[in-house]
């Protein structure tokens, strides 16, 4: 069984009022921003179920936007984020929806700008979050570790090439999960790493044939 940390219980230091609806929203925003890789020109937030129903009262909308702008969970500017200069640089909008196939606290981030990307995630309780989809590929990212996310064509040897490159740099892989549409079709992989990868390794991985998307997603600091 995975050991729980004291700091799951006596933190985070965060702006209120809700671990799942406020801190969780910021953390989902921060992770999506790390996946997208930059501040978007335009973003649409689709909030589902409890996020849609009680989100405004909990500042979920403010939290999601804060995260996408790179503002951390304990930043008191979140309360007035809609008045913030940084927020006015981005064209953002919110949609409030119901879909009972989705988790009660669920959100889609639809990024537009130099590239389009859709990231989906759930706030699973006590401020913990999970990114579940990138561009409709199932992934499993919690922000607990530095992670490497790949979308690639399923074929012999891709995983060993990637893990080989990581190994030569002396970085340990803590956990890994892969999904694929079907044999030989598109696939996705998330690797949790014990430390951050530097730029040159990521560039090396990008040069492997049949890998379409490589993202190094830094772990969440709080």
């Amino acid at each position: 069984m995975k050991q729980s940390s004291l700091f799951d219980i006596i933190s985070p230091i965060m702006v209120g009022p809700s671990s799942s609806h406020t801190a969780g929203a910021v953390r989902l925003g921060l992770l999506s921003r790390n996946i997208y890789g930059l501040t978007p020109k335009k973003i649409t937030f689709k909030l589902y179920n409890s996020y849609a129903l009680t989100g405004r009262g909990h500042g979920t909308d403010k939290g999601l936007l804060a995260g996408v702008l790179g503002i951390p969970v304990d930043d008191t500017r979140i309360k007035n984020i809609f008045d913030l200069h940084e927020a006015n640089e981005v064209n953002y909008q919110f949609e409030f929806l119901e879909d009972f196939n989705r988790h009660p606290n669920s959100v889609d981030f639809i990024f537009e700008g130099t590239q389009k990307m859709t990231v989906s995630g759930d706030s699973v309780g006590a401020g913990n979050v999970r990114i579940t989809n990138i561009n409709n590929f199932p992934v499993d990212l919690t922000g607990e570790y530095n992670s490497l996310v790949l979308i690639y064509k399923d074929r012999l040897g891709i995983l060993s090439k990637v893990s080989g490159i990581i190994q030569t740099e002396g970085v340990n892989i803590a956990a890994m999960n892969c999904e694929r549409i079907a044999k030989g079709e598109d696939a996705s992989m998330c690797m949790s790493l014990d430390c951050a990868l530097n730029y040159s390794i990521i560039e090396k991985i990008k040069r492997i044939d049949d890998i379409y998307l490589v993202r190094h997603v830094g772990k969440l600091e709080s």
């Binding site: 940390s5 219980i9 009262g57 909990h58 008191t76």
Partner: protein, 294 residues
Amino acid sequence: MKKNISTFNELLSTCGQQNKRTYELFQEKEAFLLDIEIEKVRSKVKKSLDAMKEAIHIGLSSNEKSISKQCGDDCEKLQKRYKANEPLFGKLFKKITAYALATIEENLRMGKIVACPTAGSCAIVPSVLVAISEELNISEDEQINALITAGAIGSIVQNKVALAGAIAGCQAECGVAAAMSAGALVQILGGSEKQMVHAVALALKNILGLTCDPVAGLVEIPCVKRNVFLAIHSVTAAELALADIESKIPTDEVVDALCQTGQLMSPMLKESSQAGLAKTKTALKIEQRVLNNI
């Protein structure tokens, strides 16, 4: 590899074998888990402690309302009363109740608080810990020991049940916070590990079945006042335990009962606002007003 302590029974036997306190075992375990020095663990805990004190400080002098405009000025009201009337239970009661309101109201106005274990239950541990430490001149080191003890209690309970109203009702949020606070208080007052573990059982036993039925789905009604009530509840548990009054049901079995009660609790009473207080006639009116205003 440090041994994982996943039950209160294991905690007591490990404390006995190694002649250590709960906070010592857990700061060692945390240092190992995060691969950092024990001092670094303690300085992280101090950061949480300092943030708790800051929230109390700011909350005491604010009456700003929440986004929904339903709550936010109770701390001011209570302090006004205390200026005119000494509270029946004395100065400590006065501080705990005021600090609890100060913290939970900071939370609902999107101020900075420490989730402990959650944001909706963020006022219970800090109000008791800070009030007692001020009144009894408790050193910062001892406050940190107590907060680590509180964290240890929460983390052992979390091994069996997620600390979320949506999973097990408010018993797993404010209830567990009260158990953490009771144990931390026993630690501060020089009680034994055994007394600490019984304080946890006593606090939990007396909130079993507590549902999560917030009006309009917000962390406001009944969460604000519930934090104050359960802060005082935790003091009762600690006082009884310090008198060597034991829970006839062992703490781990009480946690099992909490877990089972959470599973049997209707989903309508677990943070979904579909029943209970949330669906009373007045709650429905409030909900309508809130949805129209924000």
